[in-house]
């Protein structure tokens, strides 16, 4: 599986939005990272999923990412993000196991991946890790759900992640009454699906989200060069039978 820096992805989205992809258009138009993220938010048909893990404590999750199916598991409607070290590649390339050692010397409390989860779910019962934070926007998230990845093996991590992604994927669609020609994740339905699949999750209320949105802005800016997006590899897509093997 390949990955690409979130900065690059966001910049590409900005080029598209500005309609000046050609010649020197992209670089002669100055834009901040925040503006580029907004362009990505506007362009993205679906949600983001940040895989939060500590490279040592949650070794199984880094092993799962190293298997190379994250991009495929997430599918086209979900941009899967994770932290890599020392910097996310600015040209798409394969993910190596050594990339997945971000913050290897940091404790749980210090690790930025944990920080992000705490921003979204700051109450006394900060959820256990590792897990996946699903949120609708990078700019100012309006909805977020955290799904716990409580597994005993990397295969089990994969199984849980796939279940979560599939549940999210099923709930991506047009919002009734909102005619913006775009796809959104229906977080209510998503929560119901997770419940049905008996996946433990946490959901953030509106008030908490406002605070989280404020904090994540700074967090994204601080960690932007380490955030990578998974590019689907689409391994093992067979001829006739449809893709997306459920179980």
């Amino acid at each position: 599986m390949k990955c690409l820096s979130l900065i690059k992805i966001a910049e590409e989205a900005a080029y598209l939005a500005e309609g000046k992809r050609y010649a020197l258009g992209p670089i002669t138009t100055p834009r901040t990272f925040k503006e580029a993220l907004r362009a990505l938010d506007d362009r993205h048909r679906g949600v983001y999923a940040f895989v939060a893990f500590h490279p040592v404590a949650d070794r199984l999750v880094s092993e799962y990412i190293d298997l190379g199916t994250l991009g495929d598991d997430a599918g086209p409607a979900i941009v899967a993000l994770f932290l890599v070290t020392p910097e996310a590649p600015r040209v798409p390339r394969e993910v190596h196991a050594s990339d997945l050692q971000f913050g290897v010397t940091l404790t749980f409390e210090e690790h930025p991946a944990y920080d992000l989860v705490r921003f979204f779910f700051p109450s006394e019962s900060t959820p256990r890790l590792p897990g996946i934070v699903f949120f609708d926007r990078l700019g100012a998230a309006r909805s977020a759900i955290y799904v716990l990845l409580d597994a005993k093996s990397k295969d089990q991590v994969m199984k849980l992640a796939r279940k979560a992604f599939e549940a999210a994927d099923r709930c991506v669609g047009r919002t009734p009454g909102l005619d913006d020609g775009r796809l959104h994740l229906d977080f209510d339905r998503f929560a119901a699906q997770l419940l049905k699949a008996s996946l433990p999750y946490y959901r953030q209320g509106k008030k908490g989200l406002r605070a989280a949105a404020y904090l994540t802005g700074a967090w994204l800016n601080k960690n932007k060069s380490a955030i990578a997006a998974a590019i689907p590899k689409v391994a093992g897509l067979a001829g006739k039978a449809g893709g997306g093997d459920a179980e």
């Binding site: 590409e12 993205h44 086209p76 689409v234 897509l237 001829g239 893709g243 997306g244």
Partner: protein
């Protein structure tokens, strides 16, 4: 230098002629790929045919004299109508099919000819083969797409639109979820049935809507595979590789550019969509490179590669990224130079970028790739200099011909100077090589080297240099030069005879006879 081991008479298996054949086949591949990006195939089809005929004759001569010819393992190939002995329709040589060299090159030539006359049949042929390959490899779409891309990289699609349309049909077939199981386990004997069934599927699915989710997935595979190839291109180690890899990317990138244009309609997912936009930019850079080479051809300029046209781009990047990261930003965004060259110019400023004199292997294409490059741009190796004529000489020419001082006049003068100079150089080289006085050997060698410096791809200069090297006992150089000379101009009877002579001197009698056979081909030019 050609990587060619000095051999003994009892080791004729690793033969010189075998090596020549390998390079000839490599040229066919280059011709296909480079023509696809220059769009010049039609005009040059006579030259292409002649190259093919000489390759074919060289293989036949080697076989006639019982010299083992090299095998072409792992090369993709599809069946041709007249010379094919496999039950399989296509595949990789060695693992899927057992294909002789004559069969392989017949596939190239017959299908190339078809590409000019019957483009629909051509596309159908390759589509059928790619679908058949996929179905007979566990319906693994990734393998099927790799195969189709490999066929393009191997030069089977000399007209790029034939490739993009074949690839598009292939992707659509699977995105329509058409039932292709009728292909499973079939052989070439069932060709008629396959054709009929395929036509029926086309009819049935003509009105069916695409499964867009699936389309996006298949597109994802193409993108992933093309990203790999982009990485290969950036890792090029010479101008030859860079030229080839850029041309090889042109087809897939052009296809992805078309998809990009329809991305909204096709509901392509976010990541794929953003990557498509990136690819489109790369395709534009590749188009610019091909355009640059076309201009060089039109103006009879040296086929030189330099970065001086990149000044404006570099300056813009430096203004945007004043922190010193402009070079990395520019090369990651744009397909303007491979990583190795980026490191060579790492210390240059935007003002001096164009003045960096790149080493030979980055500035000028090699003797191996020059003829295909010439065919792709309607040029001839003998008419190529490594540097342009001095300005005062061109100006004097304009005055002498009483022409107005316009760029067109300079082009006219340059063309005329080239024609005169090129034949004069050939004669000079011939005279030099005949110098029998051993006392003058060093001067002669130096003089020939100087001529080759100015006309690096002049087949006759190369041929005479090879002959001269032989007289001085430098057989390794002689082998290399003579080989290059027939690669750059396969029509020279004398050059093939010189190869035969050298083989005789080395007492490689079978090879001497084989080269003599080639030299006797009726359509060669006797330029004594």
């Amino acid at each position: 230098m050609i990587d060619f081991r000095e051999k003994s008479d009892d080791a004729l298996n690793a033969s010189w002629i075998g090596h020549v054949i390998e390079l000839q086949i490599e040229q066919l591949r280059f011709i296909g790929v480079l023509s696809a990006s220059s769009g010049h195939f039609e005009q040059e089809s006579d030259h292409v045919r002649a190259v093919w005929e000489i390759t074919s004759a060289t293989i036949a001569a080697a076989r006639r004299h019982n010299i083992e010819v090299p095998r072409q393992h792992a090369r993709p190939v599809v069946y041709n109508p007249s010379n094919w002995h496999n039950e399989a329709l296509c595949g990789y040589i060695g693992s899927d099919v057992s294909v002789s060299l004559p069969e392989l090159i017949t596939s190239y030539m017959e299908l190339w000819l078809l590409s000019s006359k019957l483009s629909e049949s051509y596309k159908n042929h390759f589509l059928k083969c790619a679908l058949w390959f996929t179905q007979n490899h566990g319906a693994d779409l990734r393998r099927g797409l790799v195969f189709l891309l490999d066929l393009f990289y191997s030069g089977f699609f000399p007209r790029v639109r034939l490739f993009t349309e074949t690839l598009d049909s292939f992707v659509r077939f699977y995105a329509l979820e058409a039932d292709l199981t009728f292909l499973d386990g079939t052989t070439l004997k069932e060709k008629e049935t396959i054709n009929q069934e395929l036509a029926a599927v086309v009819r049935m699915t003509a009105q069916s809507p695409l499964n867009l989710e699936r389309y996006d997935q298949i597109l994802g595979i193409v993108i992933d595979l093309v990203l790999d190839r982009v990485e290969v291109a950036y890792r090029a180690q010479s101008l030859d590789e860079w030229i080839f890899e850029q041309a090889a990317l042109y087809g897939p990138l052009l296809y992805l550019g078309f998809v990009h244009a329809a991305a909204d309609e096709l509901k392509v997912g976010t990541t794929n969509r953003l990557l498509l936009s990136r690819f489109e930019e790369m395709a534009a850079d590749l188009g610019a490179t091909a355009g640059f080479r076309a201009v060089q051809a039109d103006f009879h300029l040296p086929p030189e590669w330099s970065l001086d046209a990149k000044d404006k781009l570099a300056t813009a990047y430096q203004e945007r990224f004043p922190d010193g990261s402009w070079l990395d930003r520019m090369t990651e965004d744009r397909m303007v130079m491979p990583n190795a060259v980026r490191e060579l110019v790492r210390h240059a400023s935007t003002h001096t970028l164009g003045n960096v004199r790149l080493p030979r292997e980055w500035r000028l294409p090699s003797e191996r790739v020059i003829r295909p490059l010439c065919i792709a741009h309607g040029r001839h190796p003998a008419m190529l200099r490594s540097t342009d004529f001095p300005n005062d000489l061109l100006a004097a020419g304009v005055r002498a011909m009483d022409l107005p001082f316009t760029p067109e006049s300079v082009v006219t003068v340059r063309a005329q100077l080239l024609a005169e100079d090129s034949s004069a150089i050939a004669l000079e080289a011939r005279d030099l090589a005949q110098t029998a006085d051993p006392a003058l050997a060093y001067e002669t060698q130096l003089h020939l080297a100087q001529l080759r410096e100015i006309y690096p791809w002049h087949p006759e200069v190369c041929h005479q240099s090879g002959k001269f090297a032989q007289t001085t006992g430098d057989f390794s150089s002689a082998l290399t030069m003579l080989t290059y000379s027939v690669l750059m101009d396969p029509f020279s009877k004398q050059a093939w005879l010189s190869m035969s002579t050298l083989a005789s001197v080395k007492q490689w009698s079978s090879e001497a006879a084989a080269f003599r056979d080639v030299s006797a081909l009726p359509f060669l030019v006797d330029d004594r």
